[in-house]
């Protein structure tokens, strides 16, 4: 192709040598950091932001997508002194995981209630 169309794989593939998540500590504000997450969009970003804000130890949580053509977002977190951004982020992500697993179980139960077995996946398979 001799045009400037971005490659289709740019949506998914993390460039070689890069890590999905990276963290930069804020040099001026204590207990604050910026996380850069590659190849993700509002779906995950807003989910994390909303979950973080429920935690009383989180003083600030916000995200932005720096450029519409780059599939990346940055998440800024500031916490109280009791903890640190990395720790709360991990804790809150575990909460999301638990909630989603729970929701999946409830969805399966609802299907049974409606006289339907779960789909062929039984709601536990992790390969798509």
């Amino acid at each position: 192709m001799n045009n400037n169309q971005p490659d289709r794989h740019e949506l998914f593939l993390i460039p070689e040598g890069m890590s999905k998540v990276s963290m930069t500590k804020d040099s001026k504000i204590p207990n604050a950091a910026t996380f850069t997450i590659l190849k993700e969009d509002h779906t995950l970003a807003n989910l994390l932001r909303a979950q973080l804000l429920k935690n009383p130890k989180v003083l600030f949580a916000g995200y932005k997508i720096p450029h519409p053509l780059e599939h990346t977002f940055v998440l800024k977190i500031q916490t109280t002194f009791e903890t640190n951004p990395l720790e709360v982020l991990l804790i809150e992500m575990q909460t999301i995981i638990r909630d989603i697993m729970d929701l999946n179980k409830k969805f399966q139960n609802q299907l049974t209630l409606h006289g339907l077995e779960g789909g062929e996946f039984g709601g536990s398979r992790m390969d798509f």
Partner: protein, 267 residues
């Protein structure tokens, strides 16, 4: 339904309409972000099969090659066994192979005096799990093009696994209806009005699920949306309950993937 004693997000299925491929459910006691993530994933990240490459051997129809390939791409292909197929980008093969693609052939020539419709029924798949979708035996199939006497189309179509954030042809859903706060108590939307919003904007069917605010009720600025009304309407390539299920697992996988990397970091 009592919102008070429930822990974590809850789901209630309202109806399943197999004929119209619709699944209607309520997600409640849950955050707007969770509901929206689920909606976005159902629409954009649940993988399906769709024709992605077309080798045209002969095309004397009135449609140009590009037009035909585009139309072929949009034909829904059954994707219930999608996990048996890998993404081409993850496959070891050079270009495409059995593990990451399905070849469909289209070979039609019109020899009669009447026009011949080329439809999805004429597509012959090499994999019985990945065939064009038909709603019933009588369904004539999507019309791809029409041929006059002497015209011919002969092509090899390579269907690949993909997600609709790359191209909408891979979307497993025709639509995902999503509503919350049917009475607009939270004022997340502003109605355009001539004179009276209540008269000009009738409440939808979900309005019965929630108590309408009285005309003099004060605005609760702390209120949060907590009930989300979904109607997932599939294209037929996948059962709607599979779409929801897979979307849930995809949200899960997404978070797990980031957690794994995050655990390597040190504060």
């Amino acid at each position: 339904m009592n919102l008070g004693d429930a822990k974590g997000p809850q789901v209630t299925i309202r109806s399943i309409d197999h004929e119209r491929k619709q699944l209607s459910f309520i997600l409640w006691n849950c955050d707007l972000a969770v509901a929206n993530a689920l909606r976005r994933i159902m629409m954009a990240e649940v993988p399906t099969m769709a024709i992605d490459l077309v080798d045209i051997e002969q095309n004397s129809s009135v449609l140009v090659d590009e037009m035909l390939s585009h139309r072929l791409g949009l034909i829904p292909l059954t994707s219930t066994n999608i996990r048996d197929i890998t993404y081409t980008r993850d496959c070891n093969c050079a270009e495409y192979c059995q593990n990451c693609s399905v070849v469909l052939t289209l070979n039609v020539r019109c020899d009669s005096d009447t026009n011949r419709d080329v439809t999805a029924r004429d597509l012959i798949s090499t994999n019985p799990n990945v065939t064009p979708y038909f709603s019933s035996e009588e369904d004539a199939g999507v019309v791809i093009c029409k041929l006059r006497k002497g015209q011919e189309v002969r092509m090899r179509c390579i269907a690949k696994k993909g997600t609709s954030k790359e191209h909408a042809k891979w979307s497993p859903v025709a639509a995902v209806a999503f509503e919350y706060d049917p009475h607009n108590k939270l004022r997340h939307t502003t109605y355009w009005v001539e004179t009276d919003a209540l008269k000009e904007w009738p409440v939808g069917p979900n309005g019965a699920e929630e108590v309408a605010p009285g005309p003099d009720d004060p605005f609760d600025y702390k209120a949060k949306p907590e009930k989300f009304y979904f109607v997932v309407e599939g294209t037929g390539v996948m059962d709607p309950r599979d779409i929801v299920e897979k979307a849930l697992m995809l949200v899960h996988a997404k978070v797990v993937f980031v957690v794994q990397d995050l655990q390597k970091l040190k504060w």
